[in-house]
Every structure is written in structure tokens, then in C-alpha cells.
Symmetry: C2
DNA sequence: TTTTGCTTGGGACATATGTCCTTTTGCTCC
DNA sequence: GGAGCAAAAGGACATATGTCCCAAGCAAAA
């Protein structure tokens, strides 16, 4: 992690995401820029965090490692998502590992500043609340989807989500994974089983597979399979 | 739903939960008391909510109905939990059904008052944030637990949680269920399968079953099975 | 080029879990 | 006490998913 002291860059980043003027002046004053390199960890379980981060550039991968050593990929996050909100604002321990996928840029607010300044700024607090609410919403949708539907349905739903790129481009990005093993983790299944489902979809003419890449052929058919359970 | 105009009762309820003086005066002024009868719905999917509710007495059951007609019990909530936070504060649609288990009492804040008054009160907003963060935390723990461990482990974890009543009584209550069918739903499995696991636990001497009731005999053994995955 | 290693693709088998049905048990109401 | 009912207990079978392997393709390193 490197602190970037470049007011002009901070300004332009805030403009880009329409954050300028959105919070109180005092809150803006305590914001700083931080950069993480590819593969660098923003936090991992049991860490104690000193900053609340707002991702403004790049992409992070959030996963959880469980006592039995297994891990589950929770999601990918793209700009304007919060890291450390639960920990800093809810007095909770870190449970998830957050890793920078490429190089990424964050606006950070130190713990002390959060308590003194931002914690008294209603606009900032409402911003946090809105993000928390959306996170919770996504999270519980995915959770119930995971437990009530077979991998077949979830994978169809996943494909529809990353393919239909008209609206909601953001949420889609949040779930995008490259390698098949990662998709398997995201869906909470084994690579082997995902593979079976892929083979089945190919047999049904829903998708096509060529040396590793997948091509959606029948989005309507996939939608039928997902039957209204879209990741959302 | 009935509005209860009884300032004295409101006062005593707020005292009981140490809410008095915690928020700004204006915020306190827009709080009202509401009562729901046994089995009454606080909200259900696609409803539009007009209030943010804080449960102060009773117990509510939160579940989600999915497009395929299946439903999953998400959790039971006990006093001082929020209903409608995601919807009112995150501009989201209602996705979960919330049902009053017995008779229950809420402090409610109307949508308009929320925007005008409470939404400008940092103390109130921090209260909301803290609750959202905890909800999210519980939710994602349970979600990964559900997907990565077999029912056997989850049920052991559940039993440990509701049995170890020393510390954390609140969180435990949140997950307590009476009938076995309800436990099955909570664990996201079928009653049949839960039954199998129970039979297995009995055979291993971990629990005892007598006309419907279960008695924990070997909490240490259950803890070993749960292996650090406690619902938390 | 060979080697090494990661990713893909898939066979064989074991296990976890779901669905459907029947039987039993304990209760309440007549 | 018997009828009727809801919850509980469990048998039989089907399906979903995991684990363990092995083999092939491709790309970077040696």
C-alpha cells in the first residue's frame, strides 16, 4: 500500500465518480488516495483495519477462507464500492480477504478521522448506508439462490448476468470471473461439477465451448433455465 | 398493524433498550409505536414500505419466497433489530417477507420523517449503520457456511449456538426455531434429511431425542463437529 | 526443443441431499 | 375411548455434487 499525495488526482477521481461536493467539506478534507499493487491484500481475516476504503479504480476480489481451509469467492467489486465498512463502522473483526486484482486506487479515511469528522457528516453516513444496504441485498439474494437452486440454475443465471450487458453493467461486472475454476468457486461448487454442467449446456445447444472460452448461443434458453432467479 | 398513541409506553420502551437520548431530539419526536398481531405480515415481497421499523418487543420471522415457490427461512429477529432499513434507506424493493411470530411492538418512523429529520441526525445514522453492518456480517457468515459445509456440520453448529447460552444470548435467540421443520428450513435443507442427521447424532450419543424434543448430551462433541464454524 | 506447470476435459465412484410415501405418535375434540 | 389431525420418524429410490484420477493442450521457462 502506498499513500499518494496528489490533490489534483484526488480531485479528478472524485469528479469522475461524482463525489465532489457530495459530502461535507470537513469530510472531503480527511480523504486521501492509496494505491495497491496487483495481488496485494487490502485486508485478510483477523487483521485490524485502520482505514475505510472507497474503491475508485481497479478491481478487487473478495473471498473468505474457512476453518477447514476451503475458500469461497464472494464477489468481485468494482469502483465505488466500500472496503472495511463493516469493520470500521460496525466494530467487527475482518472476516473476508480482499485482494487487489490489478493495480487499484482507493480513497481512504483513517479510523480517527472517521470518528471525528466523517461520522458527523449526514451526507457521508447516508452514502455509507446506501452502499451497505445494496451489499446486504445482493448478498442475501445470492445466498438464498445458492442454497435453493442447483448449480445448473445458478450457472445459467450467472451466464445471463454477464451476457446481458444492456442495463446494470455495474452489477454484472461485480460477478464477472475469467477462469472456469474461478467461476466454480464463485458458484460455490467444484470445478469438476461445473464442467459437467457446461457439457450438458453444450449438448443442449445453449452454449458453445472452444479451447477454454464459452460462447452463449441461446440466451433465451438460459433465461428460461434461470427462471427469474437472476443474480440481483 | 395498529398505531399506538401512548407517549408513556414509548418512553418506557425506549428506556428499556437504552435508546432514550441516544438520538437527536427531532428524531425522537418523529418516532411512533406500532403493534402487529400474531402471524401478521410486516411486509412481503414487492410491497412498498412506508415505515422504517425498529423491533422493540416480540419476535419476527424473516423468510424469502423464490420464483419457484420454494421458501427459505432466513432468520428470526429479536428486539432491537431493524426492518425496512434496506428498502427505506437503500431505495430497494422489498424481497423478504417479515412476519410477526407472536404479538410484537415496533418503533416506526415514516418515510417522510426519515428523509426530513432522522436522515440528518448523525447519531441515528450511525445506529443504522451499525445494525446494517452486523446484519451483513451475520448474513455472509451463514451464507458461506451454508455453501461450504454439509448439513451435519451446520446442524452441529446450530445446536451449539442455541445451547451455549452463557454469552451472546441475543445472537442465539436470533436463530432459535421450535419445530424441526423450521430448523430444516433455517438450515436450508429438507426435513427428511435433517431427520437423518438427527438419527446419526443420536447413534453417536451426541444428542437424545424424546417425543419431538432434542436434548444435547455431548456439547463438546458437537463443537468438534462444528469445528470452528459457529454461526456468528 | 524439452520441460514444467497451469488450465481444460472428463471417467469412475462415493457421498450428500431431495422426493415420495408409509407408519407411528401424541393431542385435541367430540 | 375413538376420530381426526399435525408433527415426527423413517424406508426406498433418484439426483446433485464431491473426490480422486488421468490425459490432453497450451504457454512460459529452461
Amino acid at each position: 500500500m502506498r499513500t499518494i499525495r496528489d490533490p489534483a488526482l484526488l480531485r479528478s477521481v472524485m469528479d469522475e465518480h461524482r463525489l465532489s461536493g457530495r459530502f461535507g467539506e470537513k469530510t472531503e478534507a480527511v480523504m486521501e488516495l492509496y494505491r495497491f499493487d496487483k495481488g496485494e491484500m487490502i485486508c485478510r481475516a483477523e487483521d485490524s483495519l485502520d482505514h475505510l476504503f472507497i474503491l475508485v479504480k481497479g478491481k478487487v476480489k473478495i473471498y473468505r477462507v474457512l476453518p477447514n481451509g476451503k475458500s469461497i469467492l464472494l464477489r468481485f467489486n468494482n469502483p465505488l464500492s466500500l472496503i472495511g465498512d463493516m469493520e470500521m463502522l460496525g466494530d467487527l473483526k475482518v472476516h473476508n480477504t480482499v485482494e487487489s486484482v490489478g493495480e487499484s486506487l482507493f480513497i481512504g479515511i483513517k479510523r480517527q478521522a472517521l470518528a471525528d469528522t466523517a461520522g458527523e457528516d449526514p451526507a457521508f453516513l447516508r452514502f455509507i448506508i446506501k452502499h451497505l444496504a445494496r451489499k446486504l441485498n445482493t448478498n442475501s439474494s445470492v445466498a438464498s439462490l445458492n442454497i435453493l437452486y442447483p448449480v445448473e440454475t445458478r450457472f445459467a443465471s450467472y451466464l445471463v448476468a454477464i451476457t446481458a450487458d444492456e442495463h446494470d453493467r455495474e452489477r454484472i461486472e461485480e460477478l464477472k470471473a475469467s477462469k472456469l475454476t474461478e467461476i466454480a468457486e464463485l458458484l460455490g461448487t467444484s470445478y469438476r461439477h461445473l464442467n459437467r454442467v457446461i457439457a450438458q449446456f453444450v449438448a443442449q445447444g445453449l452454449i458453445e465451448r472452444t479451447r477454454g472460452a464459452l460462447y452463449v448461443k441461446d440466451i433465451a434458453g438460459l433465461q428460461r433455465l434461470a427462471s427469474g432467479t437472476l443474480y440481483s
